[in-house]
Symmetry: C2
């Protein structure tokens, strides 16, 4: 960020009064241009014991498999965004379940949210950002061809929790996350 | 947003190729300037049966009470951000618990995350953004002087869940949220 998006003046990086971090400040109009992490919303769409994955038709990670997910837009909820991505990338309608993982990807300046979701029918089709879409049983998951760490971690935890008969919530840094067993929800 | 932050050219609002939404596009350098919701992170800090609130020393809602919370920064996790805000605004150290509410505030283009948190000791002090900080029992909560809808909703659900002996997760639009009872976590 070099120029003020409000008045086109060159920006200065300095700590604004009352703040403790360097920000992009406009010496001309006084605007402070904050940059914050972006939210990626997606689902773990299931039909029976299978999970729906998309083969990416776009960079980064062209040709690798992913859960349907993408940037949350303005004027939508996290729930609506997750279902929108499931429809846009995988052509699948689903009923949303609870949040399953919320992972920080600090290097990418993103927070990834994955909700469980039950597909209404085994119907799906590749959207413009997907080369292919397919239902995978656990033993069929292409672990070596998954696009992102948040996806492989979410799938690993999903199958682990499912085997234990109980899903819970997993949050924090994707490289060092925290599991919240159902005990943590006791008052 | 009127000018490109990369090259200072006037921006055009149009739908980029392969997209389906209008974005701020730079006809000169080709940059597309996406705008997405921002994350606000905070805690429900408790000591015994009391909850810690801060009286705001800044606008919006100067003089109203709030849970400690603020914009998530780059280079931090949601967990670290929530505890940072608890320290900065309320001078309190706490041990983080699970995510309790994740509310969309569509009009403000924000998603608010509140984690439960247990204070290590009944020690706190007003940070520069707070006029006062105080522990409140449920019957002492200044309901008519709370700063934000996400705060009043989070506190209401917190006391409801606590009475039932079981906390769960509450997500979605703050005006029309979804509760996820522990049953939803069954595989």
């Amino acid at each position: 960020m070099k120029f003020c998006s409000g008045c086109a003046s060159p920006l200065l990086y300095q700590v604004p009064e009352g703040d403790n971090r360097e920000r992009a400040c406009c010496p001309s109009c006084g605007a402070i241009h904050y940059v914050n992490p972006k939210i990626v919303v997606g689902t773990i769409p299931t039909f029976g014991n299978k999970v729906l994955l998309c083969k990416r038709a776009i960079e980064p990670r062209y040709g690798f498999w992913t859960l349907p997910a993408g940037f949350m837009e303005l004027n939508e909820t996290t729930h609506a965004g997750a279902l929108r991505e499931t429809w846009e990338e995988a052509g699948a309608k689903a009923t949303l379940g609870p949040l399953f993982t919320m992972f920080d990807v600090i290097r990418a300046e993103q927070v990834h949210l994955f909700f469980r979701a039950q597909m209404d029918a085994p119907e799906f089709s590749a959207g413009v950002e997907s080369l292919d879409v397919k239902l995978f049983a656990e033993e069929e998951i292409p672990w070596d061809e998954l696009a992102f760490k948040t996806v492989s971690k979410t799938l690993t935890l999903f199958f682990e929790d499912r085997r234990q008969g109980q899903f819970t919530l997993h949050t924090g840094d994707v490289y060092d996350h925290t599991d919240w067993p159902l005990d943590s929800f006791k008052a």
